[in-house]
């Protein structure tokens, strides 16, 4: 697609966009030296505070900083309001969908989504069938990846309903910006984000098992060597809850306890940041050292709430993604406010024929892939890579979907050569409990390499502070 990307800061003809005017005005008075100095200051600070992530496959000293860009991503209030409505709508439909497939499966009976697509999915958990969870909420924390196309339209690229991460960077980036450039916050009315942990704790307490008056919430981590450990420790501290590992918990008579210096203490809600597969070695992977034997029994007895619920992966799988707009219509009888990225489902013959004929223009994604691995970006691929994918698609078409190569919007970013446009996306965090709450903004990720569309931190992505303007 040859459309030129949407520039978040500069309109095509009429110069700076309204929402960026005070910022650009301020920027014109800054020297490049000052920005460079502030960037270095931010790096030093992130190191000292230990805001790092672990890189898999590297040994000692494998903690790295996620590069932080000092130029914020600014969203005008009206655009955000619409996004917010669209996100809440989408997550409501996704929760309704998960509830439905683990109960009556009306949507399958109605033929809206092919049944085998759901029931044969590795992320479908038969253990959840017929189980009622508090409030019917499964995805308590959802990270919805949003991109803006060349027309300036927001579209959903991906839903993350298992253990989405990144919110700590959203919070730390704001803190850093306020520290580096306090004057900017006087000149712009930026909606605050730092109440996120409070809202999260409130939502988690709100989904405690029935009858628990003052629920004890814990955050379950895989431990200090997990790539997102900083975030786990940070959120637990900000919420004032215990950060536990599997070995700290045990189950007795279908009740979950944690081992404390004063004996066992009951746990009511587990905000888990480990995958389903590792939660309970008696039910899922028997080799898991991270989980808690018997946890599922306690869960099925409704003596503990697990957030996100087990089995949400069936709804954020790339093979299910194309059907989310249909879910919104089916469960909410509403039209989707934010559209998907156009997607070809390669298990369907006519979609497959089209895709195979246009491989060099398309992005091919493996439906179970994550983190930007296992995909083909047609325009950037060699002939050999394209042919390899052609064979793979022919062999297992149900494993792939295709999307147009999107011209992700760009935002000026401070790189070695000065300010230059780089592609960005946005991950807002949608919290569901008694209600649905979205802290304004989210995490803006930026592909730091020139021309790159891959924003994942594991592959050279950075982050920006995200501003939603209040007026």
């Amino acid at each position: 697609m040859s459309d030129s990307p949407y520039d978040e800061m500069h309109g095509r003809d009429d110069g700076t966009r309204e929402c960026y005017r005070p910022y650009v005005d301020w920027l014109s008075r800054q020297s490049a030296g000052r920005l460079e100095q502030k960037r270095a200051e931010a790096d030093a600070m992130f190191h000292r505070v230990g805001i790092t992530f672990a890189v898999y496959g590297q040994e000692e000293g494998s903690e790295r900083l996620i590069p932080f860009d000092v130029v914020p991503r600014v969203l005008p209030n009206a655009e955000w309001r619409r996004l917010e409505r669209g996100l809440a709508q989408r997550v409501r439909a996704l929760n309704a969908f998960i509830h439905d497939i683990y109960h009556d499966q009306r949507i399958l009976a109605a033929g809206v989504i092919p049944a085998e697509q759901v029931l044969c999915n590795a992320q479908y958990r038969p253990e959840m069938q017929g189980l009622d969870v508090p409030g019917g909420i499964y995805a308590h924390v959802a990270g919805i990846d949003i991109v803006r196309d060349s027309q300036g339209e927001f579209r959903v690229l991906e839903d993350n309903l298992r253990v989405p991460s990144g919110v700590s960077y959203m919070l730390e980036n704001r803190k850093m910006m306020m520290r580096l450039f306090p004057e900017l916050f006087a000149a712009n009315r930026v909606a605050p984000v730092d109440h996120y942990p409070e809202v999260l704790l409130d939502e988690l307490r709100g989904v405690a098992p029935a009858g628990v008056v003052d629920p004890t919430v814990v955050l379950l981590t895989a431990g200090a060597h997990n790539s997102a450990y900083f975030e786990h420790a940070f959120l637990a501290q900000q919420m004032g809850i215990e950060l536990v590992e599997g070995q700290d918990l045990f189950v007795r008579d279908e009740v979950v306890f944690m081992r404390t210096t004063r004996g066992p203490r009951r746990v009511d809600v587990i905000y888990r940041r480990i995958d389903d597969d590792f939660l309970d070695p008696l039910v899922f992977r028997p080799d898991s050292m991270l989980g808690v034997p018997g946890l599922l029994t306690a869960y099925r007895a409704a003596r503990v709430t697990i957030a996100n619920a087990i089995g949400t992966g069936v709804a954020d799988d790339k093979s299910i993604y194309p059907y989310v707009p249909a879910m919104i219509r089916f469960f909410l009888a509403e039209e989707p406010i934010i559209e998907n990225v156009p997607t070809w489902i390669l298990r369907q013959p006519e979609d497959r024929d089209y895709a195979l004929a246009h491989l060099k223009d398309l992005v091919i994604k493996e439906v179970h892939g994550a983190g930007g691995y296992g995909m083909l970006i047609g325009p950037a691929a060699t002939r050999a890579e394209i042919e390899e994918f052609r064979l793979r698609i022919r062999a297992n078409p149900e494993r792939y979907i295709a999307q147009p190569t999107l011209a992700l919007s760009t935002c000026p970013t401070f790189v070695a050569a000065g300010l230059a446009p780089r592609h960005i996306d946005l991950r807002p965090f949608v919290l569901s409990g008694r209600g649905v709450t979205i802290v304004p903004g989210g995490l803006t990720r930026v592909a730091l390499r020139e021309g790159s569309l891959v924003v994942n931190s594991s592959q050279g992505g950075g982050t920006k502070d995200t501003w939603v303007l209040e007026t």
Binding site: V49, R259, T260
Partner: protein
């Protein structure tokens, strides 16, 4: 508090204190190596220090002879020796990282930047002249860590477990430093004239006790008086009595259903020390006393682990 959290806090403090103790030992010997007297005395002292730290075997695996330079390297920046200062600082930081949410951000940042800096020093290596500077820096970072702990931490269980680690390690380290000089502490040693007075004044300085000693004792520096100061003086922050008193108080603050016996034993140790006179120690034999004391500290350490840190898997 989670048992695992208490465990990390306890070890975090133990490792920082251990790094400081090692720094003090290296400091004493480094100063000694600058004095114009027999290298044999220094060599003997280094050997007995390695023995008191139970590091002879580990040292022997890496070096042939207890040359001062090799011992200093082994105790400070040797990244392959698990008990080096460098690795103690790493272990302190790893334990802190595992419970960073329980620490104040100031304390975490102090431990984190100590390690980051130590790693850089470790990569470049410290030259002969820098040994003194390095151990000085380690002491400063330990002082800072302790100050930040006392100045910012809530006086809750987290604080008490951290303090328990500090005082247990300090008592253990203090007793070992004295044990390394046991020959001078046996009856008749002074009369026998094997004692090197410089050695003891250097030791006092390394333990931040030189001025205190001068103020308290008007006579010259003698091993038994130094021992009295470092074992029985309740006002001396690094004395064994002081450590045991603090240990007992912090244990009382975290008492649980099964910890009564541990608390009683800690109380007994401090009460006994409180009512002991130096004459009694000399009569019983200072060396023997130190051996028994180290065994008691080991016992308390094991009891703390089973009472609080590693509760049985099925409660």
């Amino acid at each position: 508090m989670l048992s695992r959290t208490a465990d990390h806090l306890y070890w975090m403090s133990r490792y920082i204190e251990r790094a400081e103790n090692l720094a003090r030992l290296v400091d004493a010997h480094y100063r000694m190596s600058l004095l114009p007297h027999a290298p044999a005395i220094l060599a003997r002292s280094l050997r007995s220090t390695l023995a008191a730290l139970q590091l002879e075997a580990a040292f022997g695996e890496r070096h042939d002879k207890a040359e001062p330079r090799a011992v200093f390297e082994f105790l400070t920046l040797d990244s392959k020796h698990a008990g080096s200062i460098l690795n103690c600082l790493r272990a302190a930081r790893e334990n802190a990282r595992a419970v960073r949410g329980t620490l104040t951000s100031e304390l975490w940042e102090t431990l984190n930047s100590t390690w980051l800096e130590a790693r850089v020093i470790g990569l470049h290596g410290a030259g002969e002249a820098d040994i003194g500077r390095f151990v000085e820096w380690v002491k400063e970072r330990s002082h800072l860590t302790r100050g930040v702990t006392i100045g910012t931490m809530l006086r809750d269980e987290a604080f008490h477990f951290s303090r328990i680690g500090t005082f247990l390690e300090r008592a253990d380290g203090g007793a070992r430093i004295l044990a390394a000089h046991r020959e001078d502490l046996e009856p008749g040693a002074e009369a026998g004239g094997t004692t090197d007075p410089f050695e003891w004044s250097v030791l006092l300085r390394a333990l931040s006790a030189f001025e205190v000693y001068r103020r308290r004792y008007r006579e010259g520096i003698t091993p038994l008086k130094v021992a009295e100061l470092l074992i029985l003086c309740a006002d001396m922050p690094r004395s064994l009595l002081r450590c045991c008193r603090e240990l007992h108080q912090n244990l009382r603050a975290v008492a649980n259903e099964q910890s009564a016996e541990t608390e009683r034993r800690a109380g007994e140790i401090q009460a006994t020390l409180h009512f002991t006179r130096m004459e009694d120690l000399i009569e019983r034999g200072v060396t023997r006393f130190l051996e028994q004391f180290l065994a008691k500290m080991r016992d308390i350490g094991e009891r703390i682990a089973s009472d609080f840190l590693l509760p049985p898997t099925e409660a």
